[in-house]
Subunit: 403 residues, 2 copies
């Protein structure tokens, strides 16, 4: 597998664009994105588990119930959620873009992100669609911009991989960066591939993958109302279609996982206000579930996040988070280390502090990618979760709590 | 019932003190507190549910297993948690103070609060105890200071009430203000009363009360390792002892609830970095449990908290928090209003936004005590939770998200 350029346009037959149509007041911010496949594609998606759901979620679900779609349209600046006419507006978005591209309005993945509870005006979208369609091309970067909300950097990636002797490609874009606390799936992520795979297997691949990727990512503990991960597979790589598990499905899963882990790490690193990516790697758990609970509890702890901002090796907060996050925790078997490009330093062995160099610990934690390594010491299961630091005032107090 | 002065010394036979003994480097900060009852008292406590527990928790639990205690000692600056010798140190604290006051070391409630994972040196405590005991008197305020960590204000209150013709008194002190997210109980709270009540009924009163008070308070989502609520009842008011449920037990419960609600509100208002108290009142729920989940989910949401800091009537975030916090929520029956001393403003009816004056909403939310009123519209149960706003950078971004 190779990392390649091109984002969601890397796979054969996919074009994209992103424009400013006027939903946002700031004219320098793109607010409408389109991803288009020359051929109708197998489609799969996973959605937020929040019971308050954006209207576009309902429309997308219905549209891809048959397993197929041909394009994805997404606006930023307004979530089209908690409005009396949300479904109507989302359906209008589908009809307008379907008419402009000559496809069926039932083959549209539609998404919105932004403020909740304000009516989404269809006018700027309607007026923007001709330019949006006209500009379709190798423009993954513009589409990635158009879905950004408080994100400070674009998130896109692509890979090439081999299925049955045919070169396939897969690419993805994502938006963060607040209201990020998945449960089933969250955030807005669009993935495209030219690999031929049946809708069932595509859904299976996505639903399996997110358990260890997007569902293990948190910025602020708030599970969003609107977010979803969708994937379109148009088959233009001409490999023999993947219709069951096996070697080729595994290759596909590997490519998908490369895309999703990259996007998770980048969403976490660009969390609102964040200065660094915090990765918690847990091993030695009695079950996969325990490993996941442990890793997520650590990266979700406000106090751990604040300590990471202050580059403070306050491992007691890691123990605290494990203590309320994991069922049946035995504190007396837990080891904790901190790690980064500057090295690794053990700070807690069997649940108790050990002497360590505060200087080296600081140097390690000052890096912008930091790992918290936890060994629960009771089993063979492991997990990883991605989060970020929590910055400022709350923070001004907690980041320096020990000194 | 009347609010009176005196804190934990308001009830007959109770004295207190708080000194700087040297656990903290800052000499102007008291770090050792004592509450002493002339008579051995019925004792009850509730403890954190965090599986990583401070050593003092284990020692207190064992000491009051017989239902009685005579004093409470508490240091700040070090939590005596996750150390190889924690229990030994906590037991030494008990022996030293027992010897100095001539009581049994088994009649001591012991507590510690501060950094986790650093060995607690017994020396300053040992050297401080003579002055601590010598200064015992009407010094609830000094004891309240001695248990503070990042708190910016002391938290103390007292009430008088009548049981069977006898005037009884009850008072309490508390410390906040980070790692506050109770589950069973959390924070450090010491309550004293001269009311005569059996240990069983005292425990029942406390365990019942905290379900709707301390368990409904959150500052940062982190359930502490060390915290507990304890109560001593020395019977010196000479009322007939309360040994069962009934009118007098109810009177006692009312007094206790007045103390605990006051302390909860003050702990929340003084949450780390907070500028205001946020109270979420939920009604119209199908069950008490649903009402509590709803209220807690709203006050725990980082995004709601950030909006409150920015005095931004971003009610969509309230709906979002309800959507992931409440099982079986029907968004289409939910009403939301904001309220404070400046008035009340409805912002969402039946799950959709309604036009409202942004100016008036701002004026209401600029107050330092703000209520979020939620009607789930499906039942008869209600609940209340207390929290605070989340301030700065994370905050700089989210507080102004809509504009």
């Amino acid at each position: 597998m190779n990392i390649i350029s091109g984002g969601v346009c890397a796979a054969k037959g996919f074009k994209a664009n992103g424009i400013h149509c006027g939903i946002r007041k700031n004219k320098s911010k793109r607010d409408l994105s389109l991803i288009y496949s020359e051929k109708r594609a197998a489609a799969a998606a996973v959605y937020t588990t929040n019971l308050v759901k954006g209207a576009p979620i309902a429309v997308t679900k219905s549209n891809i119930a048959d397993g197929y779609a041909q394009l994805a349209i997404c606006n930023s600046g307004n979530a089209n959620t908690c409005n009396y006419n949300g479904v109507e507006i989302a359906e209008q978005m589908c009809s307008l873009i379907a008419d402009a591209t000559g496809i069926s309005s039932k083959d549209v993945v539609v998404a919105s992100t932004g403020v909740i509870g304000e009516v989404l005006d269809i006018t700027p979208i309607k007026e923007g669609i001709p330019a949006l369609v006209e500009g379709l091309g190798d423009n993954s970067d513009l589409a990635a911009e158009g879905i950004m909300t408080t994100d400070t950097v674009k998130k896109e990636i692509a890979v090439s991989f081999n299925i049955g002797g045919k070169e396939c490609r897969m690419g993805g874009i994502a938006k963060g960066s607040g209201m990020i606390h998945p449960n089933m799936a969250t955030m807005l992520v669009f993935i495209t591939t030219d690999c031929a795979i049946s809708p069932d297997m595509l859904q299976k691949a996505l639903s399996t993958d997110i358990q260890d990727t997007f569902n293990m990512t948190s910025v602020d503990g708030d599970t969003s109302t609107n977010d979803m991960v969708s994937i379109l597979a148009n088959g233009m790589a001409e490999n023999e279609m993947i219709t069951s598990e096996g070697e080729e499905f595994n290759e596909f899963m590997k490519a998908l996982n490369t895309i999703t882990v990259y996007l998770c790490r980048n969403i976490a690193a660009d969390g609102e206000g964040a200065t660094k990516l915090v990765e918690c790697k847990v091993e030695g758990a009695v079950s996969k579930e325990q490993a996941k609970l442990a890793a997520k509890s650590v990266i979700c702890s406000s106090l751990v996040k604040a300590a990471m901002f202050g580059s403070d090796a306050n491992w007691g907060r890691v123990l605290c988070a494990l203590g309320y996050g994991v069922k049946d925790l035995n504190p007396n078997t837990v080891d904790v280390s901190f790690k980064s490009a500057k090295g690794e330093i053990p700070v807690c062995v069997k649940g108790a502090g050990i002497p360590f160099s505060e200087e080296l610990a600081k140097e390690i934690l000052l890096e912008n990618e930091v790992e918290i390594l936890v060994n629960l010491g009771v089993g063979e299961y492991s997990s990883c979760a991605w989060g970020c630091d929590l910055t400022y005032d709350y923070v001004k107090i907690n980041g320096d709590y020990r000194t």
